[in-house]
Subunit: 133 residues, 2 copies
């Protein structure tokens, strides 16, 4: 059972969401930032895997539901202002990004704008066929 | 000179902001999540230190301007959707949080709600006197 206080203390924004950072629990690599609503946080805590709210699809998004790249929960933290969450996870498959990279943070600033700094680990077509999640 | 494309590509939200995660460049510890507007990102890139937009104060916030706990920029990344930023920083003083802790993410879920999991490194009164930043 997850105490109601855990959900109540979070400062949900005007859309009922809070940003959640996923970090690899071994390497410390920051994998992605996504969003949670109250139900997503509850599911994350009870299912011990990262569950987000997909703003584009307007529904819960169990990370890895299509790709198999589930994020198993090791630890979860709330910040001092209660408006950001940090997940420490095991990234199944070693790929968090829909582009087939370990981390979504692969763009670095260059002379012509943001450049791809990390190579693709696995072709997204092999991961998803047609869709992605 | 920072190319305009670097600022233009970011997907600023309805408030003209983007979430920015600060991570210690050596330990990999996630220190905090704050927000940047276009000017804050430009200042971060040109001054090579973390500059945020303080939503509570409605002005630019040069991290460490009162505390001395400046975040020197080592690397910066944008994510695949261009709506989140990751800063790799040297955290001067080893304290990012206004509570006197290394990281703002010090609350973990317990039977009675979120519990303080990390001890205070330095008394905030010693850091700020009266105010904080």
């Amino acid at each position: 059972m997850i105490p109601e206080q855990v959900l109540d203390r979070v400062h949900w924004n005007d859309h009922g969401l809070v940003p959640a950072i996923a970090q690899d629990h071994v390497s410390g690599k920051v994998l992605m930032l996504a969003w949670m609503n109250r139900e997503a946080l509850l599911c994350t805590l009870t299912e011990r895997r990262a569950v987000y709210w997909s703003r584009s699809r307007g529904r819960l998004w169990r990370k890895g539901e299509e790709s198999g790249h589930v994020q198993r929960l090791h630890d979860i933290r709330l910040d001092c202002d209660a408006d950001a969450i940090l997940l420490s996870v095991e990234q199944v498959g070693g790929i968090a990004c829909h582009t087939g990279r370990e981390s979504c943070f692969f763009l670095g600033p260059g002379d012509d704008g943001w450049q791809e700094m990390d190579a693709v680990t696995k072709d997204p077509q092999q991961i998803y066929g047609g869709s992605h999640a």
